[in-house]
């Protein structure tokens, strides 16, 4: 990916005399064998640690998977049964007809994608204002942002609902989008990340005649890929797994999201746990896909080579 930052690095003499070789290359040119041997041992140790961790972290997920293949009355047994006695594969075919699962998935995806896009866009814009532009009242405003994160939603849920009702927005996706797309979380996250980007980069771009908007789009955004990826991932996951918001605002069944659909297996006195777990397994898949796509941005690293922070 070519971007302004790399151009800058190549052009601006004060940034770096010559393009720095990638860390990989440099490592290879230095004393090879002891380093590599050491690296290999470290790798083995790390793999070992990770393998143990993964097992410990996946146990509940395994239970979820195994329960999704049981009859409802076989799920919550004492003692716990790790492997189903009969594999009820039909849960995975039944769920599509028991509830309109496909429609729920579409609704969830629609909400999650729109909210994530808006949150990332407006969040990174506002974060630039909060971190790279200096103007009076900025920090107070920023504290107001952080402050609202500290208020539990349960406290202002009803005033918010009354407002939405008066605007005629309840029972629609718009209500949820408006509520969740402008959260303070994204602004805060991006602002903190932008703080780590040296101001010299912006300065250089200003000297080159870029406007503030140009700096945001062509210098800062390309540099903040890991942060953008994590914000997008976390926003997506939170929206996807949100239950209370859709529950309060979406009444018509055709607007329901996956999380609401799963809860419809909970009755007044009992619940169909096998179906809930089946649905949960299905609903995790989109998150995994997003994660696998997004996670490669975490290793790309940002192009500040040659910078003295």
């Amino acid at each position: 990916m070519t971007n302004m930052a790399e151009d800058l690095k190549a052009e601006a003499p004060f940034l770096s005399g010559a393009p720095a070789p990638a860390p990989e290359d440099r490592r290879r040119t230095q004393r090879e064998s002891p380093r590599e041997r050491k690296k290999r041992t470290t790798d083995v140790v790390i793999y070992g640690v990770l393998a143990v961790l993964v097992v410990a972290l996946m146990v509940p997920f395994f239970w979820m998977l195994s329960s999704s293949l049981k009859e409802n009355n076989q799920v919550l047994t004492v003692p716990i049964q790790w492997i189903p006695s009969d594999f009820v594969w039909s849960n995975y075919t039944d769920i599509w007809t028991r509830i309109p699962m496909l429609g729920y998935l579409q609704n969830s995806l629609y909400l999650a994608v729109i909210i994530t896009c808006l949150q990332v866009l407006t969040g990174s814009l506002a974060a630039y204002g909060f971190s790279k532009v200096r103007f009076p009242g900025r920090d107070v405003l920023f504290l107001a942002y952080i402050g609202t994160i500290a208020v539990p939603w349960q406290a202002y849920m009803v005033p918010q609902y009354i407002m939405m009702q008066n605007l005629g927005l309840t029972n629609s996706f718009n209500a949820l989008i408006l509520l969740q797309a402008f959260g303070a979380f994204g602004v805060f996250l991006m602002r903190q990340y932008y703080m780590t980007i040296p101001d010299e980069l912006c300065e250089a771009a200003r000297i080159d005649g870029l406007s503030e908007y140009g700096i945001w789009a062509r210098v800062i955004l390309p540099l903040s890929k890991p942060a953008l990826a994590s914000l997008a991932l976390l926003t997506f996951v939170n929206t996807w797994n949100d239950y209370m918001g859709p529950f309060i605002y979406l009444t018509s069944n055709r607007l329901w999201t996956v999380q609401l659909g799963l809860r419809s297996f909970v009755g007044q006195f009992d619940a169909e746990y096998a179906m809930i777990m089946t649905g949960s397994v299905i609903s995790v898949i989109p998150i995994l896909v997003i994660f696998l796509i997004g996670q490669r941005y975490f290793i790309q690293g940002i192009a500040t080579s040659g910078m003295k922070g």
């Binding site: 971190s131 009076p136 920090d139 942002y145 609202t148 208020v151 406290a155 994590s230 949960s280 996670q295």
Partner: protein, 307 residues
Amino acid sequence: MTTETLTPAPVPVSRGNRKQARRNTLIGWTFILPNFLGFLAFTLIPVIAAFALSFMEWTSFTAPRWVGLENFQRMLQSDTFWVALRNTVVYALGHVPLTMALALGLAMLLNRKLKGIGFFRVAIFFPYITSLVAVAVVWNMLFSPDNGPINQFLNAIGIAEAPGWTSSSDWAMPAVIITSVWRDMGYYMILYLAGLQAIPTELYEAAEVDGASGWQRFWNVTIPSLRPTTFFVVVMLTVSSFKVFDLIVVMTNGGPGRATTVLSQLIYQEGIGEGKFGYSSAISLVLFLIVLSITVLQFKLQQRRER
């Protein structure tokens, strides 16, 4: 507080004449505005409305009635409020440092190029996306006092009186904390991973040339460079610890007795559960003030360090 004391020293753009300042204000606001409009209308105003309610009596059906500080007086006299406040603080004291340390450790472990590292990253994020019910059932099973694996292990290493975990008033909170740390560390690991990526490799290389050991590099390069991320993580963790709700509801539902009842549960029960919106708003105002003062403190600390 005045803005001046809070303002860090970002690079001054120019000589800072008045015209420049006005221009900066304009530019700053155009960046913030798209987010701020939505934030103002749908978050800030309802929040302010909720705070106003804490001085009123309101059942949501009738017009609110001004009662002054009555709600706060009731709250201070309520035994349950103090129990919930204490539980919330205990939870936060356990949850914040543990999650932070583990998240950072995992991020350091996973911030490298290794075959299949993507899989491990997903795996560590898994607890966060596993159904809460599954998490609660499995952890409760692990914590089972008589035959749970955790207590069997404790017995094996010579601890005869293993704790009763979720069926004991004293141990339910530690059990909840352990589960929540396990669940949340993957989430914060993602944030740290992004933060680690922002550290220029040259800083490490320079430190290496100076002969710094791995440990020294960690303290002198990694930790200072991660300061903005750490600030974010600490604030988010503090806030989310003080607001903890879902996990407790599913895992212990505040029990046994009131051993794990927390403030946000109280807010929910008193407000939407029983229709005492004024009273529940008063509790949330107190919760807000506590968290805000912690955050402002951290904000100031962070800025002092940055200078």
